[in-house]
């Protein structure tokens, strides 16, 4: 009908144009042209609703069913509802209903209200799922195929809900690292490369005074918490800074993500006015995959109340490395939850004297430390959680004064450092559990004279660095004038042990270093160890130690160092000074893994610097087997070489010129010397024959020719 009308219109316009001359002003009256106004779309069906999902009944029972259904609909709509008209069609063949019902409401608004209330609800408890839709949409619904097409659904989902790509930054063709720098009122995501230095990836406005930032475990997201403690934001995605998730939790005091970054835990100091566990301090677990649904609330106890939760533990709630389990410790017991169903703990472990527990970084093993009690010795144990919490190993200890537990970053070893009271004084024991060995043998290192100030396992390696100190009396004159004598432990030395093979005489001390280390910082790639001396917030000397031979390969002093950190790949080591610490020295200094200075960037208004953590690997075992390290290394080397050259074209050209000048000069020299030699040979053959350096010269000339041809080849390649 529409097309007819349009065709008619065209004909009339043509007719008009044919009759009228173009010299005259042509006024086209639209109304005249269109004739009657277009009919308004019939809205009379808008008040009719179509409800499906009803039970199929015989004709006799239809009236009763209609009454029940209408009652249910009224209940769902939460208001007295009386339809203008309703009809339940009957199948003439079978004599029973089709399972649907037409309802005419008073007007369109009421119909919409009904649809909203009824759609997706149930009738007769959970038995019959109801679907309500407008009568006008029947045409559209009729086109839905009867067969379920999974692919089509997936395509549609992909089209409308494109998944957030969070690991594209790992696919960088040069495998660069990233770092987040807060500079002034901006958040910069910077690529970093040991050759080219910093390169901006994303720059966005950011207010450091209102937001606190940290990276999630694998570096996929930036977790930002507003200072007014209400909202946690997850930033990430394609543009590395898009807001992907927003969680609102009043009075938020802290937040963290689980190991696979699926779950987010927020800690709140309590919501006044709420009921149940939400009233007091509590933790909430949110499932990011499930629309940021709050899936569990666990009470959190006052930090002041002792004995309520493990005292040494950084957080009473810890996710297992696979995120399959949650360990939640309080009041001398650990509840193990399965993340599949958080309603009830799968297991509750009664652990008297529990002070610390920690998951292995690689397996779902949980290490537990209990302190001494009247008749019970202190106990360190490891349990295998998926295998019904079977105990792998345990060790009893006596006279424990203090303890610390440490896992190897890849879960190969577990160590307890305990200070124990013995007959004359105290001793420090380090018990090392070889977790990957089925028998889990334990070895003990004992230090009687020296104090252990810290231990650190080598990532991707089999070494253990131990920082040792001596007790010194620090005399601090208090304001009252009295001498205040304090016992301080001052670091003095570092020992490095290897743990490679238990058969080769177990623990071997490979290296002894007489350098102080307040912090031991292993390179994530292993081998290199940086000893940071000087307490935090004070000037520090950083020493790079090659653990293979124990040599100090570089020593650098930083008078105003804030923090120093390894790049997650172990290629670079960054030392940064923030604006707050020392405005004139604010900036980031970069060093190679062996302590060679790479760059010193002065960054005004630097607030903070954070390397972006990386997942261990995104490759599967098969992928890893396919890597040809030798070939790949060559390719990377070539890229690096080209990069170094192209880094600064002018610089490269200048360098090439200097080199060329040199080779030309050398050639000139050699020519002059050769001429001289010829002259000598002609003038005094006997003397010339005695020239010892004659042979040298020939050799050098050959070498020179070889180098020259190589250089030419290189230039040709370019």
């Amino acid at each position: 009908m529409q097309t007819e009308r349009m065709a008619d219109l065209d004909a009339r316009v043509e007719e008009l144009l044919a009759n009228e001359s173009f010299e005259d002003q042509v006024v086209i009256d639209e109304e005249k042209l269109l004739g009657e106004p277009l009919a308004i779309l019939d809205e009379s069906f808008a008040s009719i609703v179509y409800v499906t999902g009803l039970p199929v009944t015989a004709q006799a029972k239809c009236d009763k069913l209609c009454a029940v259904a209408l009652k249910r609909i009224a209940a769902l709509m939460r208001k007295p509802f009386k339809p203008v008209f309703y009809d339940m069609p009957i199948n003439p063949e079978s004599g029973s209903s089709f399972g649907y019902l037409f309802i005419e409401c008073v007007d369109k608004e009421e119909a919409e209200e009904l649809i909203e209330a009824v759609d997706g609800q149930f009738m007769m408890k959970d038995k019959y799922p109801l679907t309500a839709s407008a009568y006008s949409s029947i045409e559209a619904l009729r086109n839905i195929p009867d067969e379920f097409d999974a692919q089509a659904v997936r395509d549609a989902q992909e089209k409308y809900h494109e998944p957030i790509i969070v690991d594209d930054w790992l696919m960088d063709d040069r495998a660069r690292s990233q770092a987040a720098l807060v500079v002034g009122d901006h958040l910069d995501l910077q690529w970093h490369d040991t050759i080219t230095g910093f390169d901006t990836a994303t720059d966005m406005p950011f207010n450091p005074s209102t937001h606190k930032l940290h990276w999630t475990k694998n570096g996929s997201f930036l977790l930002a918490r507003t200072a007014d403690a209400k909202v946690a934001e997850l930033l990430g995605g394609d543009n590395n800074g898009d807001l992907t998730t927003l969680i609102s939790h009043p009075n938020m005091a802290g937040m963290m993500t689980s190991n696979t970054e699926r779950y987010i835990v927020t800690v709140s100091t309590g919501m006044p006015g709420a009921e149940g566990p939400l009233r007091g301090p509590h933790m909430a677990i949110w499932d990011k995959l499930n629309g940021n649904k709050r899936i569990k609330v666990l009470p959190m106890f006052d930090l002041d109340t002792k004995g309520k939760y493990p005292s040494n533990c950084p957080t009473p709630l810890q996710f297992s490395p696979s995120d399959k389990f949650i360990a939640y410790g309080y009041e001398q017991r650990i509840q193990i939850y399965s993340t599949k169903d958080l309603r009830k703990p799968v297991r509750v472990l009664q652990l008297p004297g529990l002070v610390d527990f920690s998951w292995s970084p690689a397996d779902d093993f949980l290490a537990i430390f209990q302190v001494e009690d009247n008749n019970r010795p202190a106990k360190a144990s490891i349990i295998n959680v998926p295998k019904l919490c079977r105990q792998l190993v345990s060790r009893n200890l006596y006279g424990v004064k203090s303890c610390a537990i440490t896992w190897h970053p890849h879960g190969y070893y577990f160590a307890t450092t305990t200070e124990r009271a013995v007959r004359n004084g105290s001793t420090t024991n380090i018990d090392i559990f070889r977790v990957k060995n089925p028998a889990v043998p334990i070895e003990t290192l004992e230090y009687r004279e020296k104090k252990v100030t810290g231990i650190a396992f080598e990532p991707r390696g089999f070494r253990l660095a131990i920082s040792l100190g001596e007790e010194v009396e620090a005399r601090a004159a208090a304001l009252s004038g009295e001498d205040n004598v304090e016992q301080l432990i001052q670091p003095k030395a570092v020992d490095i042990y290897t743990l490679t093979d238990i058969k080769q005489g177990a623990l071997r001390r490979e290296v002894e270093l007489a350098h102080p280390a307040h912090t031991l910082s292993w390179s994530p790639a292993g081998r290199m160890l940086v000893l940071q001396s000087g307490p935090a917030q004070e000037s520090g000397v950083n020493r790079w130690v090659d653990a293979n031979n124990g040599e100090v390969v570089a020593t650098r002093e930083f008078p105003y160092m804030d923090t120093a950190a390894w790049d997650p790949t172990g290629r670079a080591y960054a030392v940064y000074t923030s604006y707050d610490r020392m405005p004139d020295y604010a900036g980031v200094e970069m060093f190679s893994h062996r302590g060679q200075a790479l760059a010193a960037d002065k960054i005004k208004n630097l607030v903070s610097f954070m390397w972006r953590p990386m997942p261990e690997s995104v490759l599967t075992e098969e992928d890893k087997r396919e890597i040809n390290y030798k070939e790949d290394a060559k390719a990377f080397e070539r890229v690096d070489t080209a990069l170094r050259l192209s880094m600064d074209e002018d610089e490269a050209a200048k360098r090439r010129l200097i080199r060329l000048k040199w080779t030309d000069w050398q050639k000139e020299c050699h020519q002059a010397v050769a001429d001289l030699a010829e002259a000598w040979k002609a003038a005094a053959p006997v003397q010339y024959a005695r020239m010892v350096h004659k042979d040298d010269f020939v050799e050098v000339e050959m070498e020179f020719a070889r180098q020259r041809s190589e250089l030419e080849d290189l230039e040709k390649d370019e």
Partner: protein, 352 residues
Amino acid sequence: MNEQLVVRPISLNGHNRPVKRVLFTRDGDFFVSSSTDRTCVLWRTSNAHITGVYKHEAAVETMDLSPDDKLIAAGGFGGINIWDLFSGRLVGRIEGKNYAPVWLAFDCNGDRLAVVSSKRMNTAASLRIFDVSEMKKNETDKPVVLDINDTPYISKPESLSTFLLQRATVVTFDRMSQHIILGTDCGSDGEGELYKIDPETLEIVGEPVYAHESAVAQIEFSLDYTHFLTCGYNDKQAKLWDSATMECIKTYNMKVPCRGGAIHPHIDQIILAGGQDARDVTQTGSTEDQFHIFFYDKIMAEPLGELSGHFGPVHCLAFSPSGKEIASCSEDGTVRLYVFVDGDSYLKWHSV
């Protein structure tokens, strides 16, 4: 540049006093060190064992090998001893009362020996050239003894002033022994200079060249004798010179005083080392890495890397002719041999 240098450092204890000089033989199978403990020691490169010890009457201040690896000459207070390198026979001795050699050098045939000496008592500072061809031919056990005045080549005051000679620190022959290059300490005018001297007449050829703000500590020729390296001690610089024109072509700036250097035989690299004197350490700030060996790109004059080892000032460095070993000697009384484990690994230092 960031490639790791795979190098095996070997510390050698054969001297009990500061070691002043270290030199490789021309085939690189042996190297010689000389020390103020009155000895020179011959080492085997392959296993770093002591092969021979040459005993001198006085502390050995200077030492040189003849280019054909036949002779070793060591100078100390009272005279110069010349041995056959491999038999250890004393083939010659140059004696003189109160004679104090500062530096000596063989010419390119090993026939002549140029010696600069300092003033002691009534013996004036001098530059002398001795003919040692007799000693080279000496097959007997009896050494050929020469008096210092037995040579016609003695510097004359009219061409080389006593004042100049008193400051002389280094002497060496250039290519085909056409000239002698003499390096001096800074005098009252405060400049270390280089002189080109005719070996026959002992007269200065051309103008003296200003080299360093301080003493010229060492002159090291490249294998093809087209350029040479000088180390200025206190000005913390090393310079590379065109040996024909005596023009400075490169300058290497160091963080520490530079005493010794060596030019890589094949690759465009040099190594430099040094460090503050023990007596100066207390006066100025010092870092732990000042006694390291520093690698530089010869052409670009840029630092490439460093090797650690010594704990006292390094006096002398030498590359083996293959470039696969470095020998260094130090005030701490040790000689160190650095062997590049993977023969090619040092190539990675070759900057682009």
